[in-house]
């Protein structure tokens, strides 16, 4: 019996079927690089998992030893500084890529029927990504880690009804205490990644089942001009290699950033000394600035509303287009949203308070 037959008897998958399942036809317009923005965060997610696992070999999630363990990684472990840099910049790039991906999906209307559920899954993935970024930074136990976590928990507290409960759940108590850090670590390294992996599987499966959105105008154009030109190309090896290229470019970028702008360590967390300026990570600047413009409750409620709206946008947009079929409302709403987010972020970045 040949090796192939031996294997086939035990793992009964038909290679033809497998090939068909995985070798999805990719619409020609995907050849544009703008469409790699989905694979980019996925690739970075893998980078984060790999570097995160490596870092977890040395990280200790206790307030007494956390800072020292991060220092050990940065100063003493071989290539520790490099892996930490990859992880730190991977986080920033991943969040940026996720946001760009969402913008691409939004502006190409790929959330529309029948893909509304996938959009909502993507929204949950966005929240998870932001949460993972937040919890990750708290683990270093620098001053900003501690105070950022404290402020964040207090903001959660100001949500009506569930605020107090969610804050206590997050901190493992009324205030930041000895058990808070291990809670954050579990969320960061186990719970959130786990949720994200499951959601990603569903997300990608739905894409595969639905197929990548084809453009209306492409469909018309294709038929009129070149009927013989294939409107699809193969995932393997064509698109796969594109993704490999993207992956390598990202690795080069990450390696350069990790070397040129390495991850440093600020002063160790001191619960008795509040720093002059407390700021969250850059991806929360928009929320932070928004919070300073009104009362905590008003800010939390308004942000909650915005989030809800984004979450159900496919349905809202669907209703709008039913009423006004030629409307470009989403595009304008999108442009406004992007400008507002960017504006608030830049504003927060530019000032100390």
């Amino acid at each position: 019996m040949s090796l192939g037959a031996w294997f086939k008897e035990r793992v009964p998958i038909d290679p033809g079927q497998l090939r068909e399942m995985t070798n999805e036809p990719v619409p020609n317009h995907i050849k544009a690089w703008w469409w790699c923005l989905g694979g980019t965060p996925a690739y970075l997610f893998v980078v984060q998992i790999v570097t995160g696992i490596l870092l977890a070999f040395y990280y200790e999630a206790s307030p007494v030893t956390a800072y020292e363990s991060v220092r050990y990684i940065t100063d003493e472990a071989a290539f520790g500084w490099f892996l930490r840099g990859l992880h730190k910049w991977g986080a920033t790039l991943m969040i940026a890529a996720v946001v760009l991906h969402q913008m691409r999906v939004y502006f190409t209307g790929a959330y529309r029927r029948p893909r509304e559920l996938n959009w909502m899954i993507g929204m949950v993935l966005l929240v998870c990504t932001l949460m993972i970024g937040f919890t990750g930074y708290s683990l270093v136990y620098e001053q900003l880690s501690f105070w950022g976590a404290t402020v964040g928990a207090n903001i959660a507290d100001s949500v009506p009804v569930v605020g107090g409960f969610s804050k206590e759940l997050l901190l493992g108590g009324e205030t930041y205490n000895d058990r808070t850090l291990s809670r954050f670590f579990m969320l960061h390294a186990a719970v959130l990644p786990g949720i994200m992996i499951l959601l990603l599987i569903v997300h990608v499966t739905l894409i595969r089942l639905h197929g990548v959105t084809e453009f209306e105008f492409e469909k018309k154009k294709g038929a009129a001009t070149d009927a013989e030109k294939p409107r699809f190309f193969n995932f393997f090896p064509d698109h796969a290699m594109t993704e490999l290229i993207v992956g390598l470019v990202l690795m080069i970028l990450l390696a350069t950033l990790a070397t040129a702008l390495p991850a440093t360590m600020g002063p160790k967390a001191d619960p008795l000394i509040t720093p002059e300026v407390i700021k969250p990570e850059w991806f929360f600047y928009v929320a932070f600035r928004w919070l300073k413009l009104m009362s905590a409750t008003a800010a939390v409620l308004s942000m909650g509303f915005v989030f809800f709206l984004m979450f159900v946008w496919p349905f809202f947009d669907g209703w709008i287009r039913k009423r006004w079929p030629a409307s470009e409302f989403s595009v304008w709403a999108g442009i406004f949203g992007v400008l507002a987010i960017v504006g608030l972020t830049v504003w927060e970045a530019a000032v100390a308070h």
Binding site: D75, W81, I252
Partner: protein, 529 residues
């Protein structure tokens, strides 16, 4: 983009990625090199027996622990307990959180690991510094400047109702004894002092008089109470309770016991300075001191071995000449500076440093007796000193200097010291002055002449400081002699003659006139010769 192009792009990108990783590798190597350079001596571990000490005292007196951490002791795994441990029968031992320890660490304790150094030190004059003070009538500090027994204050001190009786030993306590060393004393239950005399320790340092030990006053934690006049004290000749003499901490500062510090002149300068023995000032005036000040960075003070001619040659310090090793003596250090000194300029009349088996200076004038007693001659000592000089100076140069030095000492001895000594001795013998010291002006005059100015002059000559040899030295000696001593003696004699002590006065006058008639003093009467 065709597949081939994509593949080609991937090759190029892989190469670029690899290049960036090679750069990362390079940075890692650089970082490791820097790290190992930093980590060379930094790692120490607290030895098991001292772990408890460090964990508590690291909080309470962190300075002491941090100092220790920087020491060679710490690197070698010698901790608190290794030095502070006390035997069960030691007078000053007590139980401190489960360990039997003593506060005071004596040369006997240091000798456990450093027997050679402790032995050399024990034979030296440094170790005798306290004993000398305590057997001599330390009249000046204890009586003239204070009082041997407590006395009533003139009036109360406003704001300090606790300050009642005056401790008249204060000047000796804070002055003389801090350099020379106190006679360590514990208090007994009645407040009396318990010293080595009362404890009578055996050759292991343990007291044989167990009754006295039982009477030692102890505080609530069992710690013996020290007579605060005698402790704290790191005088170099401290008389310890275990019978040993001295304190290694005097030069080797605890708790880092830094050899680097002991090599520097400022260390010796704690005691070897001042009007009566300005060795530090003399050194600073001399060319040796000038060179040191300028070339301090090249002195290699942190080197583990510090051999002149090998580890450094920039300049000599006190330690260089008097103690440290050099290329001519095989790098051998001595903890007995007396080993290299050929004249002792301490007494009124300088003596040749022929020493006997007990390291005492031979004073006999009979050559046969001297030859019989001598174990280490002054010449041997001079030879050892000249081993140091020879690293930088030629034989003729050294020989010439020593001739100048010998001439200077002899001039002082013969013109002023011996005469002065003879005159004052005669006054005392003839009872023309009271037996009490320092109650008459002439006693102060003579004291200044030999103890202050005379010593300064000789030290200045010995260590190449012309100003101290002359203007601060012989000039002042001469002035003191001619303008004060002689007139004061004459006045005493006149007074004696007018008060029925003519015979006595006559005897002393004979001594005085005989001296002044000598050619070297004749300039007074008849002008320049």
């Amino acid at each position: 983009m065709s597949l081939n192009v994509k593949r080609f792009v991937l090759v190029v990108l892989s190469a670029t990625f690899l290049a960036s990783l090679l750069f990362v590798q390079r940075m890692e190597v650089v970082r490791r090199e820097q790290e190992s350079a930093r980590h060379q001596g930094a790692h120490i571990a607290v030895p098991a027996s001292s772990e408890q000490c460090v964990s508590c005292h690291g909080e309470n007196t962190p300075g002491v622990v941090e100092q220790w951490r920087t020491s060679t002791h710490a690197e070698a795994g010698v901790g608190c307990y290794d030095c502070h441990k006390a035997g069960p029968r030691d007078a000053d031992g007590f139980n401190h959180y489960g360990s039997q320890i003593a506060t005071v660490v004596t040369p006997r304790d240091c000798a456990e690991c450093h027997p050679a150094e402790a032995g050399e030190f024990d034979a030296s004059h440094h170790a005798k510094a306290g004993a000398i003070l305590h057997s001599l009538d330390n009249f000046l500090a204890e009586t003239v400047e204070g009082n041997r027994t407590p006395f009533n204050p003139h009036s109360p001190t406003p704001g300090r109702p606790d300050m009642g009786e005056v401790n008249g030993m204060a000047s000796a306590m804070t002055g003389c004894m801090q350099c020379h060393g106190s006679k360590l004393a514990l208090l007994d239950v009645d407040g009396a002092s318990i010293t080595v005399t009362e404890l009578a320790p055996d050759e292991k340092g343990e007291p044989t008089n167990r009754e006295v030990v039982a009477r030692i006053q102890r505080d609530a934690n069992g710690k013996p109470v020290f007579d605060h006049g005698t402790w704290p004290n790191t005088g170099i000749g401290r008389v310890n309770l275990d019978g040993s003499k001295g304190s290694c901490s005097a030069c080797h500062s605890r708790h880092d016991f830094s050899p680097r510090r002991a090599r520097q002149p400022e260390n010796c300068g704690k005691c070897h300075l001042g009007p009566d023995h300005p060795q530090k000032e003399i050194y600073e005036e001399s060319k040796h001191g000038i060179a040191y000040r300028d070339l301090r960075d090249r002195m290699n003070l942190d080197s583990p071995t510090w051999v002149l001619g090998e580890d450094y040659t920039a300049a000599p310090t006190c330690a260089t000449c008097h103690m440290s090793g050099n290329v001519n003596n095989g790098g051998r250090i001595t903890h007995d500076p007396g080993e290299r000194i050929s004249w002792t300029n301490r007494p009124p009349v300088s003596l040749v440093m022929d020493t006997d088996a007990e390291h005492r200076v031979i004073t006999s004038i009979d050559p046969a007796e001297r030859a019989a007693q001598v174990v280490d001659t002054a010449n041997d000592k001079r030879q050892r000193m000249q081993n140091v000089c020879s690293v930088c100076h030629t034989k003729n140069y050294i020989g010439g200097f020593y001739s100048q030095y010998d001439d200077f000492v002899q001039n002082f001895n013969e013109k002023f010291a011996k005469p002065g000594q003879a005159i004052v001795a005669s006054l005392r013998e003839q009872k023309l002055i009271t037996p009490t010291q320092f109650d008459e002006e002439v006693e102060w005059t003579w004291f200044y002449l030999w103890h202050h100015e005379g010593r300064r002059a000789r030290h200045g000559a010995s260590m190449m400081a012309p100003d101290y040899a002359h203007w601060h030295g012989m000039y002042e000696v001469a002035e003191r002699f001619y303008m004060e001593l002689v007139p004061q003696v004459r006045e005493i004699l006149e007074h004696a003659e007018n008060n029925g002590q003519a015979t006595a006065a006559g005897a002393t006058r004979a001594v005085l006139e005989e001296i002044l008639a000598r050619p070297e003093h004749a300039w007074q009467e008849s002008g320049p010769r």
